[in-house]
């Protein structure tokens, strides 16, 4: 199976271990990723907060590049995914906007690209059964809560995820890996990621609350599919409530016995290795 691939800026820096684990796991699952040629930033929160046209034009450039190849586009960053989907939606709704934006692009934009998350691709295209077949080391003793955050899910008519208030794709994948997934009510609560640098004190409270609620649900870790949630959860929690957070792809790699997890986990701020080693998973 072939996909176009848009890593986005974070996956080359603060979300490095996410980028590497997405690529390693995709390869092991038989998915071939073709990185978009000379891609550029999606503009993220900063563009849509200050200039609507710019927030549409930046993703549109990448979408036009993706359309040339015609493959589904895998976007592992929730923020990029949301901006791509929103731009496509706005351009489909407003033909004047589409005409104006098209003029500033080198490639033709039609709106035909299919934008997808790796969660959806692993869950739907690979499937839980095939995933389970490839597990060589069950993640026994790992009790994760799945944390989906905002940007994969909302608004639902644009994002098209499985369920806006109670998504379950990550939970199901973690169960297939042998983890003892915990249920909780904070799957889709905001972590405040977009304000983590400018409004740090407010955001610390939001992150602490998530950590406390995960503990109350009996979890020993959190699992995310967003580099901004990860940076935030990993940097902003106070010591007395901290739990390690994993990218879901790091755990898939661990369960499949692939090379990489030891290096990736060493890049986290809240050290996940004591937990992983105590469960004899590494």
């Amino acid at each position: 199976m072939d996909y176009s691939y848009y890593p986005g800026c974070s996956l080359h820096s603060t979300g490095k271990e996410y980028g590497e684990s997405v690529e390693v796991v995709s390869r092991a699952l038989g998915l071939k990723l073709h990185e978009l040629d000379d891609w550029s930033c999606c503009g993220a929160t900063s563009a849509h907060s200050t200039n609507f046209e710019l927030s549409v034009a930046l993703p549109a450039r990448n979408l036009a590049i993706a359309e040339k190849r015609g493959l589904d586009v895998m976007i592992p960053c929730a923020a990029c995914y949301n901006r791509f989907k929103s731009a496509q939606h706005s351009l489909a709704q407003d033909s004047d906007l589409k005409n104006n934006i098209s003029k500033s692009l080198d490639d033709d934009y039609s709106g035909s690209a299919v934008i997808r998350s790796p969660i959806d691709i692993f869950h739907q295209d690979v499937g839980l059964e095939s995933l389970e077949e490839k597990v060589v080391k069950k993640l026994k003793g790992l009790k994760p809560v799945s944390y989906y955050g905002c940007l994969w899910l909302r608004p639902p008519e644009i994002c098209g995820f499985d369920d806006t208030e109670n998504p379950i794709m990550l939970d199901e994948m973690l169960t297939s890996l042998g983890a003892e997934s915990r249920n909780w009510s904070f799957k889709t609560d905001c972590c405040g990621g977009s304000l983590t640098i400018s409004k740090t004190e407010l955001v610390e409270n939001m992150v602490d609350r998530l950590m406390r609620m995960a503990r109350e649900a009996g979890a020993n870790c959190l699992v995310t599919a967003c580099p901004l949630c990860m940076a935030n959860l990993d940097m902003r929690a106070h010591e007395d409530v901290q739990l390690p957070t994993f990218y879901f792809t790091e755990l898939i790699a661990l369960a499949m016995g692939l090379e990489g997890p030891e290096n990736w986990l060493g890049l986290h701020n809240i050290d996940p290795l004591p937990l992983i080693k105590s469960l004899k998973l590494l």
Binding site: S40, S46, H48, F52, E53, R61, K103, T200, G266
Partner: protein, 175 residues
């Protein structure tokens, strides 16, 4: 030029703000409401009542985390996040200096690196932000730890076709 309400509705280009019946579902589910000077449904009411100046000076419009919980739960599909983005741009255009300048300074630092390199260069973005805000010592510890782990590279790859990026920025720039 129409009224403030007409102006905002026109830009939302969807469900008009008059459809809000103030059930306050947006404000109850808003993760930032506790820190805001005006709660999401109050902002809608203020737009309806023409309270332009007060709103463009408010900190609420900059504290919204863009989590989109409000519009997802709104029984009338009022697009509150879009309304807030519109108010932010109006506030910038009006040259208002809000209490929460650091949020705007973050956005400027972020988009500045995108304009120059096509992609975000996190260390340069953060350095620019620190220069703008004077918050030199904040997060230095965690930043240094990330740098040692190779997560903050000064030489992250850039978009080659920077002419295309400049064109996008210039054609979407406000006159």
């Amino acid at each position: 030029m129409g009224s403030f309400l007409e102006d905002v509705n026109k830009q939302i280009n969807g469900v008009d703000l008059q459809n809000c019946y103030h059930c306050q579902k947006c404000s109850s589910g808003c993760p930032m409401a506790a820190a805001m000077d005006f709660k999401p449904n109050e902002i809608i009411r203020m737009v309806q009542m023409g309270q332009r100046d007060l709103l463009l000076r408010s900190s609420a419009i900059w504290l919204c985390a863009s989590c989109e919980t409000c519009v997802t739960r709104c029984p009338n599909a009022v697009d509150i996040p879009r309304m807030i983005d519109i108010l932010r741009v109006m506030s910038l255009d009006a040259g208002v200096v809000p209490h929460d300048r650091e949020v705007i300074q973050f956005h400027e630092s972020f988009l500045g690196t995108v304009k120059r390199g096509g992609r975000v260069n996190e260390p340069i973005m953060i350095a620019t932000y620190k220069l703008k805000t004077g918050t030199y010592l904040k997060d230095v510890g965690v930043g240094f730890k990330m740098f040692l782990k190779g997560k903050l590279s000064l030489f992250s790859p850039r978009t080659k076709n920077r002419k295309a990026i400049r064109r996008i920025f210039s054609s979407t720039a406000k006159s």
